[in-house]
C-alpha cells in the first residue's frame, strides 16, 4: 500500500494536519487512529473552554473535535479506525508505517511523508515512588475522566487527588458533580501547574482545599484503597515529619504530568529533546528524519488545543511541501537557544531562507514571574522586546520571528525571558 502522507493519530493534531495537507494540494492523505472514533482525547474532555482562539466561542472538547471531524469528512479524507501503528522505519526515500487492526490485520504502508500526531500519556504511579500498598482505586486523572465521561462509571466515592494539573482539577469538579466527595488536592510544588480559572471554578466553587507543598506519603488498603496520608514538604520537596494528615478514602487520582508518547519516533530514529521529551524539530516541524514531521502533544505538551490545531496545520503544510518539492538541500539552519527562564523552544532551529514571512516559536518558562521581559536576540543583538506582566510554567508562550531580521550571515537566535532574577 502506498500513500503520499500518512498521519499517525486522529486527534486534534492529526485532523488539523490532514486538513492542512489537503488544502496545500496533496490529495493522498491517510489518517491512522487506534481508537474506535476520531477526536482523540477531546472525546473525554466534556468540559467547556475549548476553541476561544480558533472559533471565538467556548466549546466543549467533543464539540471542538466535531468541527474538525466534519471538515475532514467533507473533504473526504480517508482514515482507518481501531488501527494501531506498531512500527515506523525509513527505507530509501519513503517512510514505512506498520500497523495492526482486527479488520485489516497487519498493514505496511509506504509513505512519502509521515506526520507524528500521537499525543501524550499521563505519568503513572510507577514513575512517582509513592510508598504503600498496591490496592485497586488508584487511577490517573485521565483514566477516571474516561470512566466517568465515556463509560458512565464513577470510579470512587471519597477521593484524594495528587497533583494539581488541569486534568486533576477538572476531575475534582466532575467527581463532585457526580456525587463523590473530593477531600483535597495535594500539590508537591509551592504553586499549581493548573490554570487559575480551573482552580477557581473546579476547587474554590466546591470548597475543595488545595494543599500546596504537600505530597502523598502513604497509601493504605489491601484490596481497595482505604486511606492515604499526605504530608507537607520542605524546599527540597522532602516530607516534613510531624505534618502528616490522614484521609479515609477509596480513591486516589494522580494528575502529575503528561509525557509525549514517542515510542514510534524512537523506532524511526527521531532525535528527542530531553526537556520536552518530544522530537527536536526545525521551523517546518520536521524532525531529523527527512519526511517525518511532528505536531501537537507528541511534540510538546500544550495547554490549549487551539495552539495544537495551529501547530498541526503548519506540520500538514510542511509535509505537503515535502511531498511536492522534496527537502531543499543546503539550507543553513540557525540554532534557537534559550536564556533566562526559558526552558525550551519549539522549533529548536530555523532556516531564514526557507521560513515564510514569519515563523512562530513556542516556549515555556521554568518558574512564575511578574513584570517579565521577553526578548529575541539574533547574534546577541536585540530584535524584539516585549513586556509580559505575568508568566507561568503552566502557560505556553509564543513569539513571532520575522524573515526580515535575517540577511544570511547570522549564526544563532536566542529567546530570553527575565524578570531581573536568576534563570
Amino acid at each position: 500500500m502506498k500513500h503520499d502522507i500518512v498521519i499517525i493519530g486522529g486527534g486534534p493534531a492529526g485532523l488539523a494536519a490532514a486538513i492542512a495537507a489537503r488544502e496545500s494540494g496533496v490529495e493522498d492523505v491517510l489518517i491512522l487512529e487506534r481508537e474506535k472514533e476520531l477526536g482523540g482525547i477531546l472525546n473525554q474532555c466534556i468540559h467547556n473552554g475549548f476553541g476561544l482562539h480558533t472559533f471565538k466561542e467556548e466549546l466543549t472538547g467533543p464539540e471542538y473535535a466535531a468541527r474538525y471531524m466534519e471538515k475532514a469528512q467533507e473533504m473526504g479524507i480517508p482514515y482507518l479506525l481501531s488501527t494501531t501503528v506498531v512500527d515506523l522505519q525509513r527505507q530509501g526515500d519513503s517512510v514505512v508505517v506498520t500497523s495492526v487492526s482486527k479488520q485489516d490485520g497487519l498493514l505496511q504502508i509506504e509513505a512519502k511523508a509521515a506526520v507524528l500526531a500521537m499525543g501524550c500519556r499521563e505519568r503513572p504511579r510507577g514513575a512517582l515512588n509513592i510508598p504503600g500498598t498496591r490496592p485497586a482505586g488508584i487511577f490517573s486523572a485521565g483514566t477516571a475522566q474516561r470512566l466517568v465521561n465515556m463509560e458512565g462509571y464513577l470510579p470512587g466515592r471519597r477521593v484524594v487527588i495528587l497533583g494539581s494539573g488541569d486534568i486533576g482539577l477538572i476531575m475534582a469538579r466532575r467527581m463532585t458533580l457526580e456525587g463523590a466527595k473530593v477531600l483535597c488536592v495535594a500539590e508537591l510544588m509551592p504553586y499549581s501547574g493548573g490554570l487559575k480559572r480551573n482552580i477557581v471554578q473546579c476547587l474554590d466553587d466546591y470548597g475543595i482545599p488545595l494543599k500546596l507543598s504537600h505530597t502523598v506519603v502513604d497509601i493504605e488498603g489491601k484490596e481497595r484503597v482505604t486511606g492515604v496520608t499526605i504530608a507537607q514538604v520542605d524546599e527540597k520537596l522532602k516530607p516534613i515529619p510531624g505534618t502528616e494528615e490522614h484521609f479515609d478514602c477509596d480513591t486516589l487520582l494522580l494528575s502529575v504530568g503528561l509525557i509525549p508518547e514517542n515510542e514510534l519516533s524512537k523506532a524511526v530514529g527521531v532525535e528527542l529533546s530531553p526537556v520536552t521529551s518530544g522530537p527536536v524539530v526545525n521551523e517546518q516541524l520536521e524532525t531529523n528524519i527527512p519526511g517525518v514531521f511532528a505536531c501537537g502533544n507528541v511534540l510538546h505538551v500544550h495547554d490549549l488545543v487551539d495552539y495544537v490545531s495551529e501547530e498541526a496545520e503548519q506540520a500538514g503544510r510542511s509535509a505537503a511541501r515535502f511531498v511536492q518539492e522534496g527537502r531543499e538541500a543546503g539550507q543553513k539552519e540557525l540554532p534557537l537557544k534559550t536564556a533566562g527562564a526559558v526552558r525550551y523552544t519549539v522549533p529548536s532551529s530555523l532556516s531564514p531562507q526557507r521560513m515564510g514571512e514569519q515563523a512562530v516559536v513556542r516556549f515555556r518558562v521554568g518558574r512564575n514571574m511578574r513584570k517579565a521581559t521577553v526578548r529575541v536576540l539574533v547574534d546577541g543583538k536585540e530584535v524584539l522586546k516585549r513586556a509580559r506582566p505575568v508568566m507561568a510554567p503552566g502557560e505556553m508562550e509564543q513569539v513571532m520571528l520575522k524573515k526580515e531580521w535575517f540577511t544570511g550571515s547570522e549564526q544563532e537566535i536566542t529567546v530570553e525571558a527575565s524578570d531581573g532574577q536568576e534563570g
Binding site: I46, T60, E63, A66, V148, N149, M150, V200, V390, A392
Partner: protein, 119 residues
C-alpha cells in the same frame, strides 16, 4: 462583609477583595489591576453563573452515555439542581450535537443540549 476572590479574567489572577453591605450590595472592589477585575468581582458576589457540563444516559446507542452542556451559563446556586435533573434523565438514540435533551433545566430557562453524537 468582605469576600476574597481570585480574578479569572486573565492569567494575572489578581487577589480581589469585594466589600458588601448588609443587603449584599457591593461597596467596593480592591486588589484588581483593571476594569475587568472590578466587573468580575461584582458579578461573582452578586450573580455568579457557570456553564454546567456532564453526561446523560443514552438508550439504544453503542455508548452508555453521551456528553451534554447547559446552552448558556446558569446561576451558580442551580448547579446541583441541574445535575440532579441530568442524572435522572435518559435519552433515546440517535442523538446529534445540539439536540436539546432537557428543556428549561431546574427552572433556569436554559436548555441542556448534547455535545456529542450517540448512535
Amino acid at each position: 462583609m468582605v469576600r476574597e476572590l481570585t480574578c479569572i479574567s486573565c492569567p494575572l489572577g489578581c487577589p480581589l477583595k469585594v466589600e458588601l453591605d448588609e443587603s449584599g450590595a457591593v461597596l467596593s472592589v480592591t486588589g484588581n489591576t483593571c476594569k475587568r477585575g472590578e466587573d468580575y468581582g461584582k458579578k461573582e458576589v452578586t450573580a455568579p453563573t457557570r456553564t454546567v457540563t456532564s453526561t446523560i444516559k443514552v438508550e439504544g446507542a453503542s455508548v452508555p452515555v453521551t456528553s451534554v452542556r447547559t446552552k448558556t451559563d446558569i446561576p451558580k446556586e442551580k448547579i446541583f439542581a441541574c445535575m440532579e435533573e441530568i442524572r435522572k434523565a435518559t435519552v433515546k438514540a440517535p442523538v446529534h450535537i445540539g439536540d436539546v435533551v432537557i428543556k428549561n433545566v431546574a427552572g433556569t430557562g436554559v436548555d441542556v443540549a448534547a455535545t456529542k453524537a450517540a448512535v
